[in-house]
Amino acid sequence: MRTAATFLGESDRERVHDASLRILAETGLRFHGELALPLLADAGAQVDAEAGTARIPRALVEAALATAPRTFTLGARNPIHDYPLPSPVTRYAIDGTAAFTIDFDTGERRYGTRRDSTEALRVLQEADMAVMAWPPVSASDAPAGSRVLHEFTGMIRATSKHGQHELHTRAQVPYLVEALSIAGGGADAVRRRHPWSVVYCPVAPLVHDGPMLDAYLDLGILDLPVMIMPMPVAGTTGPAGLFANTALANAEALSAIVVFQLARPGRPLIYSSATGSMDFRSGAYLGGTPEVGIMSAALATMGRFYGLPATAGGCTSDAPAPGPEAVIEKLITMLPQALAGADIVIGFGEIQGDQALVLEQILVDNELAHFVERLIEGIGEPAAPDVATEVAGVGPGGHFLANPATRRAARSREFLTPTLIGRHGYEAWRELGSPSMYGRARERVQEILAGPVVDPLPEAIEAELDRLLATADAELA
């Protein structure tokens, strides 16, 4: 039996739900776009066109929750990586769209590029606990108007796992539809297999971006799943209480669910969140805190409460550099979500409050994920059918070293063998040059990048994508 923890009890789930419904019905939300308000007005929401706001009644929320699919599969370009939702286990995704990269060669922080994203996603391809990609940095070397298309297609080329990204305007939609159709074997195959999805973040508190939401509604023609990721920060863009901030995030998620389901009932949606706490001295966002772990776990529980695929931001760190602070913060912001049974925790590979990619960190986080998974797998069934008989066979003062059960255990999942954490004695460790977990990760990154791209796209498809991007560069400039 898997180990679980409750971060939001049954009655508290009802309380969060009720508080969220009151927020939606009494305060409502502001919508900047063109498409959402007419949809909401037609469906019976109280819309103030001049203020751009809508109050959403309970009935609309209930109707939306009734049409949102309970199960579907996050497809992958290579079907071996398909990930059915909901999942009996927790798996992971890389963090997305940081501004910066810690340069692998110089160690200096600089703006991210297309190459950084490609390299990171090639590393992610080898991270066995990761099931979902996301361009981890914004590609500062790509033209602004078509940048997200470069990032999206770069991800498709670099990994055959499920990939999510974003779009910023409706003008970008036709290019993405064409790119996904080219890479996914036609629009029908993309609709059927869901190999790619988009991530949508309402702007806390209670605001919906215009061009992005409109673009995502247009993308309904490909039935692209939408991961809905509200991001209120307790104390700044959200109320300074874990319960209250959780309720606000949940309200924002529900509002997005309503809009997407009104536009296209049955469109696959993924409940998610990426809450934060604030530094009470500077007002800065903090992601690597125990409170974020708790809120994320509570929100994953709300996703389950609604019967939806439930994921959560996490594995976050505010540390300025890779190292022990990053590891502590990441562990404390992934363990709660995994214990709460989240389908995916999103956050591999980044530090500095989701703003800096570190290639080695992807593999360090993968190692952390293995530790978390081992913990959750729990004590399991007894390895020997009769414990007393096995103990009697050794007797007082003997040892178990050569027992068949011990030999089996050495090869089993019952005892985790880490890949990056060394278990040398002190002298041996010194003689080896004092290797570190990050050092081993670095070596592995070098090996991966020196090897071939796994599951490369056919050359003809690469060429078609290049042609499409050139057109987008010119037409979206």
Binding site: T97, F100, S138, S140, R147, V148, V203, F280, G283
Partner: protein, 215 residues
């Protein structure tokens, strides 16, 4: 009697009690007290106390925000009378702030605005998704000393450059300092686009602004 009122005003700011601060402002008007005297004798000592306690770590940022809000709301009550008397409050400087075109994330900008207000600046907040032209217009209108342009997204930070270019085109660039900030913004970007300063957070933004203006 007046000193008692001023003491109460000071305390209302320290407590971050905006309702009390407003009531006291109304009381001052009813008593015929010069609004400038009420601000300088009552509310300003309160915000100074809070600022000092914040700098020594005794108070937190939310305490500072509440104090600034209380003072802002009290001053709003006093403003019509100040206008009637044609009196103008002494301020440290005038700041025009907003988020870059296309960006609707405003929390960072709001924090900077409140902190500048608390520090004695007059702040003109243009809100979100602000065009370069609107920045230029406001800078000209209020004779601003500093412009703050915030951007949360890598795709909208280019709007910070656009504001600087627009100020240049309008012949206003030499008369105003430009400060940029936001999660994807760093010092190198500020240098590249020709900004005068970069604030890593709201507290830093105020310190940089003061340094730039030499106040």
């Amino acid at each position: 009697m007046t000193q008692e009122l001023f003491d109460a005003m000071r305390q209302s700011v320290i407590d971050g009690d905006d309702e009390e601060a407003i009531e006291l402002a109304k009381e001052a008007l009813a008593d015929g007290i010069d609004p400038l005297e009420a601000i300088d004798g009552g509310y300003v000592p309160g915000i100074r106390h809070v600022g000092d306690a914040f700098r020594t770590g005794e108070l937190f940022l939310p305490d500072m925000m509440a104090a600034a809000r209380a003072m802002q709301r009290a001053i709003a009550i006093l403003e019509p009378e100040m206008l009637a008397r044609a009196s103008k409050r002494q301020v440290v400087g005038r700041a025009v702030i907003g988020t870059a075109k296309g960006d609707i994330h405003e929390i960072g900008k709001n924090l900077v605005g409140m902190m500048l207000t608390a520090d004695g600046f007059e702040v003109f907040d243009l809100g979100v998704d602000v065009s370069p032209e609107r920045f230029v217009e406001k800078v000209r209108e209020v004779d601003a000393d500093v412009v703050g342009v915030s951007a949360l997204l890598t795709t909208t930070m280019v709007g910070q450059r656009a504001v600087i270019e627009a100020l240049k085109a309008a012949g206003l660039r030499d008369g105003v300092k430009v400060l940029v900030g936001g999660a994807p913004v760093n010092r190198a970007w500020a240098d590249e686009i020709g900004a005068d300063g970069f604030g890593e957070d709201a507290v830093d933004a105020v310190a940089v602004t003061r340094t730039l203006l030499g106040v």
